[in-house]
Assembly symmetry: none
Homo-oligomer: 216 residues x 4
DNA sequence: CAATAACCGAGACGGTACGTCTTGTCTTGCG
DNA sequence: CGCAAGACAAGACGTACCGTCTCGGTTATTG
């Protein structure tokens, strides 16, 4: 869990006011992370997140149950309900965690090649275990449940898009609306291929897509 | 239910070998509908399909239960299980039914404008109640459940795509691979906008998209 | 379950209007018992009652759980909740069942010795497994829970007392108030000894008590 | 809490070896009360006892929870568990406390009328809030739980009976076995009426009972 | 023109998981 | 150390649906 996201730490009570699940610099040293207010058990938190990830891969989203997670994590059911509302919430925390470490832009000196690199990274993230499984499951479930859709968008996708548009702008030196359009032109086929066509996002395909839209 | 689809009529027993849920000509005269072998109650079948549609809109996919459908349809639970394996199966039948009447290409004399018309029709289908709700729900659920994915692809999406590629070819007089690429370039943004961005597919947007890819 | 008691048969829905759980002749031939309205499973009913009895003796009232009964009876929890409101209800049915077969007065020709015999029978019933355990548990729980008290009195104790007073009257040929007073004088020490002093109700003690109050 | 009872003061650790919860002279000056060794908070102790009493009357025995008592007393749960094993233990302390002040024999110069007075006092104690509620609840729970039965008898009822038999002897100048039999003859109907018949122990009834067994 | 077989409604059944509740233990600061 | 606060593992509670299984009561051919 990125220290800038308090999602899992201080749960539903204080209402999600977090505006940037995807921090530009998720890794900034926040000594304040030691402001680890509550007496929450870190061991239990991690055991739950890992168990959920494992069981999602093993049994699929439908076969993922709170009772199963609790049993696999060696944790009481109530400990889960104390900190998460639902299995969707748990997976969301996993998504934020994984995105924080796996969905990053190359660091500072902006370079047009950064976009290519990032799109490749995104395709790998969406298309591979376990993070991609989680994102696909949450996107799928968001079609079925408005609360999941709300959480996924305001808590993750919106921030991700804003960040990516900004990076694209600075990387290519183009205006915001152009950056957004370019990003959509690149991401739409990836999502389409993964969610609708269910075909693999192999690097060759991604390269072809990039060649179409961004000059090498 | 299109008479060329035996999905809902003679169910899981004879194993789904239906290859063209989306018939090119779903409306072929079927006096043969009297080949209606079994003593299945048409009233019950329709009551179930309608109840499922209504309850999907009312309570969402998760809140849709077999018991609820049975109660709303005034039908015994066993009557549902006799003809459908799951609520996904019921929704699938509804999808095929709705697609048969709402996702058609203009009839015969091929015309380049047909593609524009069809894409508009598709956007309207995906974006509006209740058929779009059903398709979105099934696409969402397909991310969570491989059996749903299998059913949706081999039973609907693959046939739809094959048909649409063929129509695009004849409408524009282009080779198959070009037709497929063009179709993807048009559909990917629509799916992306509907499933990921959750924005409306208004005609203005669709027109803009078409202007980008197909000469007016 | 005595056929004159509909307690377990037609459960909480039709509201307990049964006025004579303790029928004078619980065994009256009622071929009509086959007027067994619902399709309730007799096997499940008996399995639950027996399991409850066994587990009460084994683990005590507090250690008796619905889940445990369901597991021991090889029955789904919901099957128990369908027909009984609580474990108290199950025990009550057992009590009525056991009382019907074990708490009977000698048959017709009234004889002063009948009272002696019945009091001995009562002492044995109250003091021995498993029926006595059930009655003691329900009497104990009635001190803690008004609903149990209500059920036990209006559904069992009142009818028992009325029946016993009537029998005492005809057996000894005395007026009702005298019969009631005599019965109280005999039962109070038995209950006191069983519930408060927790001493055994051996036949010698009962004989002594009888000698004190009824001429041999 | 009587100072001669260390029940609540030094709890389960030193194992209850107290033989006379009901001291003949509960009020004997025990300067040793300053043996108030530990740093136990008297305020917390009293808050717990009072809260338990209040909540027993308000919600009944079953609705009485340790957490509820802790909350109502403004005390941490652990503080309760530090000093009492269970809610039964807390109620027991309350019983001893109340009995110490409400269930006393007239003082010294022995007089035959003392028995009448004491029986009236006992009936009032058993039949009225809150002390009677506690005793009835504990008697009821003793039917369900052997540990409660053990505690109630060895910790309270046995000593009470011994004391009462002794007082009866000296008050009426009769041998011990006669005193015990007389006491049983008086108490059995009271317990029977309170626990089984659930009728009020009004003074008129008690007078009638006394007239039956002890010459005025 | 019965009989016989499938369908139908109703709903009980053995199960699984839900989300809530309480228990009794443990840990973390404060005074 | 006692204490308030409260997280924790454990597990029962009562509810909702699941998918299977009778039960009688219609139809609707078919022998």
């Amino acid at each position: 869990m990125s220290p800038t996201s308090n999602h899992g730490r201080s749960p539903h009570r204080p209402a999600r006011e977090d505006a940037s699940a995807i921090a530009a610099q998720p890794r900034t040293a926040t000594g304040s992370s030691s402001a680890n207010s509550s007496r929450r058990s870190e061991a239990a938190r991690l055991a739950v997140l890992n168990a959920a990830d494992d069981l999602l891969v093993e049994h699929g989203f439908e076969g993922l149950t709170i009772e199963g997670i609790a049993a696999a994590a060696g944790v009481a059911k109530q400990t889960i309900y104390r900190w998460w509302k639902s299995k969707v919430d748990i997976l969301f925390d996993n998504l934020v965690l994984d995105a924080g470490s796996g969905l990053v832009w190359p660091t500072d000196p902006a370079d047009p090649a950064d976009l290519r690199a990032y799109i490749h990274r995104f395709a790998a993230f969406l298309g591979t275990e376990p993070a991609g499984h989680v994102l696909q499951a949450l996107l799928g479930h968001a079609q079925l449940d408005p609360r999941t859709a709300e959480l996924l968008h305001t808590g993750f996708l919106d921030a991700l898009r804003a960040r990516d548009v900004a990076h694209t702008r600075t990387a290519l030196g183009i205006p915001e609306d152009e950056a957004a359009a370019l990003l959509d032109a690149l991401l739409a086929p990836l999502y389409h291929r993964a969610l609708v066509l269910r075909l693999p996002l192999d690097p060759a395909y991604v390269d072809g897509l990039l060649d179409q839209h961004v000059p090498r």
